[in-house]
Symmetry: C2
Subunit: 236 residues, 2 copies
């Protein structure tokens, strides 16, 4: 997939003939970013003094660090070779989501989509146009977590899927208020989709069926609903 490619058309081409409005199409962000031209050529990047310094401290390519700084609203941690940023779109992740793996040209890095929810909405609309069916669209990336080892896929963009299912105020069968009251459905969907493929499979999309209850006619608030406001975050 290259900048300008019609990703929705490529997806429709391989979608099963019984693609349905109730399906959820989970798409790895990398292929979305590539189609949107969200790539940077490191040969064209001039690292700032700060990038040079951080790169030396953390054994990284200063040009890649410059791209990470460009993509960051705030650098939250820089320790032991790990840079954790908040991106301009409010995601907290390693390297501001800037990634050089699974890219043909080793001098090229892939960025996150600028507005992943908008990307999801655009893909949903274009798929509906081409296929006559309007599945929900979820855009995923692989994030690390505080406290727990290993990465999981999470939803960074969504259209037509209840990414955060709010049970607050609802009660359990005994009438007691539920404690765990906001289900991060978008992240669970992204993680489930990732189980269906291997990391080196080059399969950018997974079709999820049977979860109609999370699919909505409207595009809705997207994966933005999953971003914890900084003032409510105890761990920054």
């Amino acid at each position: 997939v290259r900048p300008g490619d019609d990703l929705a058309a490529l997806l429709c081409h391989v979608a099963p003939p019984d693609l349905a409005d109730e399906d959820v199409l989970s798409i790895a962000h990398k292929v979305v970013s590539k189609a949107e031209g969200r790539v940077r050529d490191l040969r064209e990047v001039t690292p700032s003094p700060r990038a040079v310094e951080l790169a030396a401290e953390h054994d990284k390519d200063p040009r890649a660090v410059q791209v990470i700084l460009d993509e960051s609203a705030q650098l939250l941690r820089a320790e032991r070779g790990i840079l954790i940023s908040e991106t301009h779109s409010g995601l907290v992740c390693a390297n501001a989501g800037v990634d050089g793996s699974n890219v043909e040209d080793p001098e090229t890095v892939v960025l996150l989509p600028e507005d992943p929810d908008a990307s999801a909405r655009a893909l949903r609309a274009r798929i509906a146009e081409l296929a006559g069916k309007r599945p929900a669209v979820l855009i995923s990336d692989t994030f690390g977590r505080a406290w727990r080892l290993g990465q999981t896929d999470v939803a960074i963009g969504a259209a037509g899927v209840r990414a955060l299912d709010d049970w607050r105020g609802r009660r359990d069968y005994a009438g007691r208020e539920l404690r765990a009251t906001q289900d991060a459905v978008g992240d669970a969907l992204a993680g489930a989709a990732d189980l269906a493929r291997a990391k080196d499979s080059r399969q950018p999309a997974v079709l999820i069926r049977g979860l109609d209850r999370f699919v909505t006619l409207e595009d809705g608030p997207g994966a933005a609903a999953l971003r914890r406001p900084p003032e409510e975050d105890l761990f920054r």
Copy 2:
């Protein structure tokens, strides 16, 4: 389910006749804890001065706070009514996993299993004994996360499933070393299982099929593999 109940027998009773060695049985910890007698009667708890103080500050029941402190190796945050602990078994979560929802008696709270990996191993062995099949067993709980809103189910115990799938040193199709290199498969499985039931469904177990590649003959390191060592954690 009550203390002393043979949970494996109850699960075998409702398992499909074609239960297989390659299946993964994901079980909500609450039913495991109940069977193991990991419950506390709040009427028998005398809160310490510290518990009384914390309870007043955070608008909680001082007896429940005492139980949380008992279950905590360390209290990491206490802000705006939220207590985040590290449990004695090394899990970081709200209220040290102490939970009063979905419990018949409002004066009773449920704790996490004392050693969730041992619980998973015991259940796996007992199911094998009763059913003649030895599916992998995963024990889940619902945790909040830093940075992101909503809870997801994660694996707190596991036997026979590769909870952390390590790709470090492996390469992508272009021969570049992979960045996201440790897949938190256990957590993705727990999250996927949770999608298959509603929060108030009272369904304590979900059978996951088709992921033979994560199932192992040995019980393996369990979900302990997913706990990030404190010294490697940038967010405590």
